[in-house]
Subunit: 364 residues, 2 copies
């Protein structure tokens, strides 16, 4: 992790062999650097995790191999939940994580990833890049010695796998649902008993009936874990993750020590990763969904009653959190106002276009 | 436009003043390069055109100012429609354009931007980056001595400004509508008389009634041109541009002559531009829409009858074009199959999430 800086403040004019072109005298800053990146995710999530290799390759390609970022999956250097701390304290220079994992430390973290009934994926980029999102999240992350960059999105997630149909709010009562973060907090207001279970233990728990339901990501990732074999009902939408954004987080000092051109390269590599991750999910989910349905999965929309009660519970939660936490209130209010304006516009051209296309496709 | 290559194949270890760190012996490739970029758009389109400055700044920042791209608006070096040819023949190294402008040369160009009832913006990125889109378009562009990179999207556009309400297909008969490209070709099958008028002449033509209707982009750009003052009805969605993608096109030889790291930097800068353009439209359209409606604009959805007749006309057009043009058929078929799969998935989580959020917002 040593940073070897080279500055050719005065460079003699050199003629490249065969090129015959005089090189100008310029300052230059392409030090050899080796960084380590720890992801909160396993390699089996080849889209969320796969993005870190796209990111690292882009950085290496842009620097002729001078800036190398070695990537590590959850557990290789630190366990998935340890990525925030490992990046804060400089064990690694960069982490890939979903900030909402750390909402127990401070609910403000969740605003970097997704909150129930929050922004959809495109709106999230709009808030981050052309609203106040990145600026506000960085102000907050500074307190943790971190700087963040959006690195991709899963798209709107699925609501998960249920052993039995649920139709009313009464059906949620006592439901043991593997769901984390704020989604769990919202649903617990309606009687759900949120379960915290690592990814690898979901399948056997669902099979045995230790839990009644579990949510993961969407068709592409869920199919690989085989949840369809142990729970027939696949609900949508995952209203607690209308668009789950993944973050690159950087140790602030290490980031600030970089030459400006390397900082610009990291920014751009995160944009490459951002587009790639969302594109890969969008490209790969359809075939997985087809396969699930062909193998007997029963798709079910959450009922309007459940959606509305959950929406109400979410607003209560935001009110409670805002009363207790000034950071949360400030950033939530900013995002919420942005979102209201977004959907005002979204309902016009975007939504009516998709609506027609969806119906037209259904007609064949 | 000279390319000054510097390769330090063997570099003596140098100690930077005060740094005391030995620089390693490495090959390096950061030549000073000056390129020119010609856009097909005027500076007044500060999102579509504004993206070229974001793009050029990213390239400069990533190369410590070694790779400079000077940007020119339509008319400064060549008129907007001249950008393709100017890039082909190397007058400029890079252009920013909407490839569908050149569909008269070959309808295949349109598949790079938008076709009526085509992919929505996210689906377009998915097709470009994780489907066959970029590969197929580059195979086609190679025949024009070009290489392309997606550079941003407007989002689903609006259907434009109409002096009178139109409700049925019969109302389209003889309608003088300022609309270009394939949208015009589709609507002409329904009796519309497409008008080709430069942006600056639309306002007076609409005011005088020389034309009955005109489409441009969406609320943010349309408000600036003041169309609302001369036509009361603002229709949606612009079904001929479900997601209009803008392209960076590169002179193929100039691109191939670049060091690999500079090619990677251009790729990444295009991703930066891609996210920025869509984000800016998404962030700026809501306020413009509010202002239009507050000033009396009447929002109107196209009727189901008009949408369905247009959809049918579009399918006829694609059949005709496919029969005459093997390139079009090959790339259209690939995109069409991709799109069918996309909407199969889109209707599940994405669409139902947006649907609930739109309705919830309307309730206040």
């Amino acid at each position: 992790m040593t940073v070897e800086r080279r500055k050719f403040l005065k460079t003699a004019a050199l003629a490249g062999a065969g090129a015959g072109i005089a090189a100008p005298a310029i300052a230059q800053s392409s030090p050899k650097i080796q960084w380590r990146l720890a992801s909160s995710f396993p390699k089996s999530l080849d889209t969320i995790y796969g993005a870190v290799d796209i990111f690292a390759k882009a950085v290496s390609d842009m620097t002729d191999g001078n800036f190398k970022i070695q990537t590590f999956a959850a557990g290789e250097i630190v366990p998935g939940p340890g990525v925030l701390e490992a990046t804060q304290n400089g064990t690694v220079e960069v982490g890939e994580t979903a900030l909402y994992y750390f909402w127990g430390k401070d609910p403000t973290f969740a605003l970097g990833t997704a909150i129930p009934f929050g922004l959809n994926p495109r709106q999230q980029n709009a808030w981050f890049y052309n609203g106040d999102g990145n600026k506000l999240m960085d102000e907050f992350l500074k307190g943790y010695n971190l700087k963040g960059l959006p690195g991709g999105n899963t798209g709107t997630q699925m609501g998960g796998w249920f052993r039995k149909e649920i139709k009313t709010v009464a059906d949620l009562k006592g439901l043991k649902f593997r769901i984390g973060g704020m989604g769990g907090a919202v649903l617990s207001k309606l009687g759900v008993v949120p379960q915290s279970i690592p990814g690898g233990d979901i399948y056997p728990s669902l099979e045995k009936g230790t839990i009644d339901a579990a949510e993961w990501v969407g068709p592409y990732d869920d199919l690989k874990l085989g949840f369809n074999k142990v729970a027939p009902y696949y609900y949508y939408p995952g209203f607690w993750e209308g668009g789950a954004n993944l973050h690159y987080i950087f140790n602030l000092e290490k980031y600030n020590q970089l030459p400006k051109n390397y900082q610009a390269i990291l920014d751009a590599a995160a944009s490459v990763s951002n587009i790639w991750m969302q594109s890969k999910y969008d490209a790969d989910n359809p075939a997985a969904l087809k396969s699930l349905v062909a193998n007997g999965t029963k798709l079910r929309p959450f009922s309007q009653e459940i959606l509305e009660a959950s929406y109400k519970a979410a607003q209560e939660l935001y009110k409670e959190l805002s009363a207790k936490n000034a950071n949360f209130k400030k950033i939530y209010d900013n995002m919420h106002e942005f979102q209201n304006n977004e959907y005002l516009w979204w309902q016009v051209a975007e939504f009516t276009y998709d609506n027609f296309m969806v119906r037209q496709r259904a007609k064949g």
